[in-house]
Amino acid sequence: MSDRSNAKDKEGKLIGAIKEITVTGVDAKITDFAVVGNVPEASSAHYAFYKCKVHADSSLDLEYRVRIHLKPSLSGAETTKTTGKMMHGTTKDIYFSAKPPDLGLKGDASYAIDYVYLDAKDPRTGAWVNLRTYSRLDVFKVEKKITCGARTPHYSNGCELLKHYANDQCEIHLAEHSKASADYGAGKITVAEFDFIAKAYGKDINTICANCCTPAPKGRICEEHDIPSSAKAGTSINIGVCVENTGKIKANYWVDVKISGPDYSTTLTSAKKSIDVGKKDKIYVRWDLPLNLKSGTYTIDAVLYA
């Protein structure tokens, strides 16, 4: 029963409480606020820096929106994320990421998430309605960008950082990027260092840091050899091994040629030969067939060195 007494309006008519209705508030909420990482200045990609967990209302299926307030504000940072329609009683992790521009930082800069807002969309009007506001003080950093010449958190300079991860051709490809990613995950490098490596993905690191890295010689044994198909014991033949410079620098190559057949085996080493980038050439060894060499088929194997 109501304990409110009836009242009179201006015209003296009695106004009475006829029924009480119990209203249950929307009980959606946010938990598990957490900074998940720093972000790099002049970033090449979006990096997650904050997460939280939205718990949907226990009985209504609604769409939610989480807003965060950054202090100071950060260009390139997400501050609003919507959940899409959530079934009642479910939860969803929400991540915020940032891709800050070049801020001209002299050192790492701290940023704070000081307020987090939970809104829900009114299904009748489509308007967003604020349900809760959380006062927080969650701090993350925007890390100063890495440069080729300056010291990084873990390397003497950016060039050394790139060289550490590049392959012997001074390139960063999937394997090298994956290694850096794993090291970032393990805390061996910072997000700014990782982002610097990511900027070199698919490239020669010398395009990022000029004159930083010298590629190793690289070559292969090609197919156009110069080998006589037959030879006579007691004579000499020249065996030409086709070699291709598949690297990025002119280099000296030489070959070991192993000849093996019936009761016989010998290895001949060639002189060094300089081959230009992208060129094929033949490197020769001279085989002096012993007088007592048996009739047979002799297999020729080559090993290329640079």
């Binding site: 070559g219 030879a231 006579k232 014991a233 057949g261 060499l293 047979g296 088929t297 297999t299 060195y305």
Partner: protein
Amino acid sequence: MAKQDEKTIGKVHTGFCSYVQDLPSHPNSEKLKDLILAYNGIIDLGFDLTKDYIKGAVEYYKGNVREGDKLTPCALGDS
């Protein structure tokens, strides 16, 4: 020094094998005849011969390279 590559790049036939290497593709009965003469010491082809070599040469002549390889020290089948 860094190893760059390694592979088998070819084969060289010597003596008897050099002599018979084109028999499968160019059967030549004169060559077979000379082999028999050399086996009997009538002519010198510059290499030693056995009965199996002669049998092998006949197989090469007939185009049976694998059979020839079984009877001789040659490897004409995979060259």
